[in-house]
Amino acid sequence: MIKLEKVNKYFGDLHVLKDVTLQVAEGEKLVIIGPSGSGKSTTVRCMNFLEEPTSGQVYINGTLLTHKNKRQLIRDNMSMVFQQFNLYPHMTVLKNLTLAPTKLLHKSKQEAEALAFHYLEVVGLTDKAHVYPSTLSGGQQQRIAIARALCAETKIILFDEPTSALDPETIQEVLEVMVRLAKENITMVVVTHEMGFARQVADRVVFMADGQILEEGSPEHFFTDPQHERVKQFLGKIIK
């Protein structure tokens, strides 16, 4: 479904991704963990070309992602949920959810609104359809952002630290929605520090440090028998 091949990324002189090779299968729930500045976010951002790799290839469904075809390929295949939600503040929730489906995916207003209400129900916020995002709590905004991603009905959803900007008490409501999504056949790539979530939904966990993948495996493997010293240290700090 997604394939990164020897992806390198430089920001100026800073070498943030070093030969990252990674495959995500259809329907797989992949969780990427690791310390700050390890290149986790840059890795998912390369998957939809928010960052274009300095070298290396990204394939979506077997098609090489390029600067030219990225718009169409992204539109048809993937959505993203951001740390800062990034809802459009000048539009109501409903408009946030129907904008891309009507303008990019050629759905009628009725179709798009029906879809929007369906996914608002999935995230439990049907009563917020006509309010502006600034009136919502962080957790609610993120659930709306997830609904917006779902409205594109793409097979892949990328999550870039979806709970890192949230109050502790609202993290749970967002994670619950994501756990429910994980039961669908959606391919999910999730950068997160929520180890409970990783353990519960991940098919595979990838540990990154210094722009490289140090270790990957099943959640059981990671949380019971990590091999790498760096991984042991990291997990030791996070899980008490």
Partner: protein
Amino acid sequence: MELFSVASWAKVWAYRTTFLLGFGNTLRTAVFALLLSMVLGVIFGLAATSGKKALVAVARVYVEIIQNTPLLLQICFLYYALAFSGQNVEIITTGIVALGVYHGAYVAEVVRAGIEAIPRGQFEAALSQGFGYLGYMYYIILPQSIKIILPPMVNQVVNLIKNTSCLYIIGGADLISLTYSFVTGATTGGAYAPAYFVCGLLFFIVCFPLSTLAGMWESALKNRDARVNTATKNVEGVA
């Protein structure tokens, strides 16, 4: 002669159509120059934020040249330099072009600042949905920028109206030029104080409401932003 004598007021009143004519010319010049400055401002403002090196450079050169040379020089250059090269340009056209190009540079900066004020995340959300440049500018970025752009834009309009006075240097038919001809004219001369008072009043009644509007607009926006900032949690970016 008394500064504000009854006789001098009467003289101004007798020639009121001269003032209205000048006022009309000033407004006409301002309106067309404004349209030109908006077109240039939007084009160069978008170029400056395009991220394309060549376009950014062109916009930068335009803005820096215009902002770092006097308007009077630009007007003279356009009028006299072109006149001597054999081009016959009308004074009012010269005024519209010179003022339009001059304020276009300032409008370009206002537009650029308005676009740059929109958080990166808005562009990224739009890109992640598959919007292209035109799509995200039209639906997502510009509707948010416009609120930031409008108050300083109104201030530009005020400056533009006042700057029509510079056309005096090429002997335009604007309000300032006609007032000057009036007070120095062989048959009409002498009524300096009332004439310039009336001239100033005409500028004031157009400019004052506009700049007041801009000021109110700006503080309303600031209040609204303050409310939004306290309502939503401030979150730190993570690398």
